[in-house]
Amino acid sequence: MEPDAGELLARWRLGILDAAELDQLQRILRDPQRAAAVADDIRFDYAMRDGLRQHAASQQRIPVWRPRARRWWLTLAAGIAALLLLAIGLWPARAAPGTWEVATGSVQLAGDGAAIQQGTRIPDGRTLLVANGPDAALRRSDGTVVQVAAGTTARLAADGIVLRSGAVACNVVPQGSGGRFAITTDRAVVTVHGTVFSVGADAEATAVSVDAGAVAVERLVDGSAVQLSAGRGTLVRATGPLADVGSAPGPDWSDRRPVALVRLWAAVDTTGNPRSYAHVPAQTDLATPTGRAAFRAALADEGAELAGRLVRAGCQAALIWDVEGHQAGSIMYVGDPTRLGDLAPEMDAAIDPYVAALAAAGLRTGVLLRPERLERGADGAWRQQPIVDHGAHLAAKAAYAHRRWGCTLFFLNSAVLPGRRLAPDAVAAVQAAVPGALVICEHPGPTDWGRAGGWSIAPTAAMDGDLALRHPGAIRVVYQPSGSERGIVDPRHDVLLREVADLAP
């Protein structure tokens, strides 16, 4: 290596180059021949370090990693015993007090994708990825348990977890005097002392909600902070106030009549009907004007007939699950009616009279909304992008459905979110966009109960006692499959109706 180039580069790394030296370094690197020689020397130095450590390891002398002084002419502090070298990590990783192991599921280690299975200790300081699939749970040696949602990347830190993206739900044992457990994201630090809470993070925002206990949330960029107790949450964005969001009484939920869940998709021949819609007349090609006109007429008739059946069954509303149809090969339950024209032009041209017939019969109408951003990739495929700060997206979709069809009922499909937890302000955002809207949350968080109805698949109307105590205004929405597309035939239906009626205030 040209001594000048090597010394200049070393000084650049230390940040002690003056302007003339910087210019000299850049001139060297712009000369292809000299730059190649510099790269070659860098490679040799790296290889030398690697060889020296391997040699030391082979002599059973554990290499010592010392903290590097910022000013090179100062002496270094006493050494720190290093960890054994990892397969991919050529250098010792940062040590973390408290050991972690995988309690359930499995995680992958970033860098080589090695899978760590249940019951196995996780190497200190490594970044983890929970691949798409079941959630995983990690257990720390003090008994703290952290559920890690599929698709999450996180790093185990000395006093908690650095959450890169995705979501975690934590059950933290009391840390005692001086103890600390924290979840750190790009935007915020959430510090707890023994509680149950959830944190979701992406590049734009961090969402925190507390089920039990208390947490402190601090925004890293400016130090603004908020204390959250059980049933409260906050959304940390780059700017703006840190709101303390809690559950609050929502619109009038006293109408306990059933809500019909309506599916427009059916398992039919998709020839000429690419979105697999039901009610398409046989041999109809929805790509043609004639086909679309026939579909529109058939759907209008179906709307009128359905309205009559739902009124006779005593329903208060019709919730359309899949107005965008089944997008072949990619997305089911799109949850974005604003994209109907792009995704299903044949339905875009046919749906209005169908919904109008339901509304004319006195039924509320509603649609499923998905808390993700639908995007078209360079390959032309549509993909749903999870976003933490999805309140505004949901509000825009709800406002569209309200403007076009008069919808005042919305199902928020939170199953698609990491951790299945909506942003603390999501329901409020929808209700601000459509005042008086009834909102059903598939997985209600501590800030949703009372403001919205919580979806439940358990075949009983009774409210969980603990839930009722923690959230006195909580409303539960019980899903009961009918077993038939053409009528309500499940024998539990009448029993359930009576239970719900008995519980009504």
Binding site: P32, I42, G111, A131
Partner: protein, 175 residues
Amino acid sequence: MSDVLAAMSARFLANRHELMAYLMSLDPDPVLAEDILQEVWLALAKEAAEGRLIHQLPAWCRAVGRHAWIKQRRAQRRERPDDAAVAELLDRAFAQEPREPEAWSQQLQALRSCLERLGAPARHLLQRRYVDDADTATLAGELAAAEETVLMRLSRVRGRLRQCVEGRLGGADGT
């Protein structure tokens, strides 16, 4: 692990020395370099999850690593105006004659063998400087020598080691 990710991980692992050498040219902190290495793999996993293959993997890895390093420096408020420019120039330097995994493997083997042939004092000096990060003043104190003497000895030992490695790679004993 999906097939796409498994295939890309294998290529990533095979090229990790080239990437680590580049990362350590930006910052001598080996722990930071390891962190960034993991960041790059995570970005790779994301591409694989969306079915996207990366064809120029070493160049892509260096670009992702460079951005991660700049982001880290920005977060720590250590970013300098010339960081991106010099990092880009170093990337071009690496791109000129990239070293293939096989060549890395040969060099590493040759180097380990040559290190064994070095005398213990010479090896110790290199260890203290390049692994323990001891500065010249500290080494001068340990060796009871002037700093210029330490620098000369380091240069000489490093030169001998390099000659030995080149000799081995060239098929002759260079020591």
